[in-house]
């Protein structure tokens, strides 16, 4: 829009525009927005092409044409026949929901203690939380895998869910970063009114921390939804334990030339994330800001 308007506007007043300050401001305005539009095309382009390809016929998807000749809505039905997508979706939902709920229950008290309590070793505990958050999961993978193998839980998703009952370093860190910003007066007032520490947390702090809890919960949910490494390590060869990410990565190899179906399955994996984002955009953005550290 801006890009098409721009040249005419300049052309009408060629000499005056670049010299006067107003003209220069206008040029600057046009340049900025033109770059923004160009970047938008680059950022949205891949998504648009994925969607267009998902509607193509299999043969057309193998050409470099951009626009579907016919809109094959049936592709989205076909993918459910080609792979156990419903099983993968329900596994993914189970993993994401349970992990998120477990993480919140266990991490909120930890974050609260780190943010508001005074005790010996408080600083050390916080440093260790950051250290575990930064630790590549591959470092301790072998012994942890052996623990789960001993309990015969390899080949399932439980090794990814159960540890969430014991807190998640990244979530603890983010929640703590938010909780320290809540002024102490609120919990002090509750204590004067005779609230126990636990009731203060539930009744006073949690309602105030709702945006942060929502953000951390969403991050955890989407981390699980998108997770590939975890399921690859634990879900094993039995497809009935796979998640959507795991199945999606194998989908193309099993249906080797069917790019149209692969892209349709890709959309299926992306859609929930993008829909939720549009409803909870503010929560996301505020949450990401927390990760940047002030």
């Amino acid at each position: 829009m801006t890009a098409t308007l721009a040249p005419e506007t300049i052309a009408r007043r060629p000499a005056a525009s670049t010299r006067s300050p107003r003209g220069r401001a206008l040029l600057y305005w046009i340049a900025k927005h033109a770059i923004a539009v160009a970047l938008s095309i680059m950022f949205l382009g891949p998504l648009v092409f994925i969607i267009l390809t998902a509607f193509m016929s299999n043969r057309q998807a193998l050409t470099s044409q951009l626009w579907p000749q016919t809109w094959n809505w049936s592709n989205f039905a076909d993918i459910f026949e080609k792979a156990p997508l419903l099983t993968w979706i329900s596994n993914t939902i189970m993993y994401s929901v349970l992990a998120t709920v477990f993480m919140l229950v266990s991490s909120i008290p930890v974050a609260y203690a780190l943010a508001k309590f005074r005790f010996r070793g408080r600083k050390l505990a916080f440093l260790l939380v950051i250290t575990t958050m930064m630790l590549p999961p591959q470092v301790v993978a072998v012994p942890i895998y052996l623990i789960w193998a001993r309990f015969h839980l390899t080949g399932t998703l439980w090794p990814l869910i159960i540890p969430m009952l014991l807190g998640d370093a990244f979530s603890i860190f983010l929640l703590r970063q938010f909780l320290v910003t809540i002024p102490r007066e609120y919990s002090d007032a509750a204590r004067v009114d005779g609230c126990s520490e636990f009731r203060t947390l539930i009744r006073v702090i949690l309602p105030m921390a709702r945006p942060a809890i929502a953000a951390v919960g969403l991050f955890q949910f989407f981390f699980c939804w998108n997770d590939y490494y975890g399921p690859l390590l634990y879900a094993g060869t039995d497809q009935s334990h796979w998640t959507l990410s795991l199945g999606l990565a194998a989908f193309k190899s099993q249906h080797s030339t069917q790019w149209n179906l692969t892209m349709a399955a890709t959309i299926l994996a992306m859609a929930p994330v993008i829909i939720v984002f549009f409803f909870a955009q503010k929560v996301f953005i505020e949450g990401v800001k927390l990760t940047g550290v002030k």
Binding site: A36, L39, F117
Partner: protein, 321 residues
Amino acid sequence: MATATLGRRGKAVPFQRRERRRANLRALLYLSPWIIGFSIFFIYPLISTVYFSFQRYDMFTLEPVGLLNWKYFLHDDAAWTSIKNTLWLVVVMVPLRVLFGLGVAQLVTKLKAGAGVFRTIFYLPSLVPVVAGTLGFVYLLNPGTGPVQAILGAVGIPSPDWFGDPAWSKWGLTLLALWSVGDLMVIFMAALLDVPKQLYEAAALDGAGAWQQFTRITLPVIRPVVMFSAVTGVIQTLQYFTQAMVAARVASGATDSAGSVFTPGYPDGSTLTFPEWLFQEGFRDFAMGYACVLALILFAVSMIFTLILLRQFRGFSEEEA
């Protein structure tokens, strides 16, 4: 809070000591999930990893082999290839991502019309599931089928065989990383909007141009945030796994997901990252002792960067705590 104040003033000693012990116990109670988790999933595995690094172990037989695993590492060509690739990603991909993120953030904060819409558009790709995004990019950049080839061809630029050419595969992954720069953009935007307006006004009065304002005011003020993101980016890149794994698998057309045949790194080991090799050795070839050697090397390198991070972090976060 109350106990601490009391303690510092040094009054009512027995009462204060009891209070302090109660406070410590209460903290212990709240922290207990994490303390248990930290012990089971960090302390124990770390010690165990050191132990296994001196063993040969394939989940059936355990045999002490002394330094054999460590010596093998020195002659393991694939491991060194993976180190070179990971280093490439740290040196090329991380700075490009930070620069690009900073540029996009700077642009969005300067936009007068539609800033919110543009921010949403630029952020959106970073939410796309990694496997889905990678699949999309392999298709888009595939010279036979992808539209990128057609578009570049129309302008007269020959397109490389991105994920099929060892010289270009890491650049393909870099494009993917730049596409999902949204999280960095949001962080940098928050930092940019925090720069006090008066500083710019004062600089403008002194006749500083846009570039001077950026280098003299903006950069110094947001430097901690940029550094923090850069170091975090390095640590994340040391774990770089999914994109390389999926791109190689899809581009090579190899079958299966969790059984055998596929060896990561296609084409020609050019996308083999260090964590991928660790995964391959430990959980596909079941050379678990040797995988522990690789794990300890990864641990040492990431600890160096974590310590850098912690030093910075203390600088600009402790005052509020």
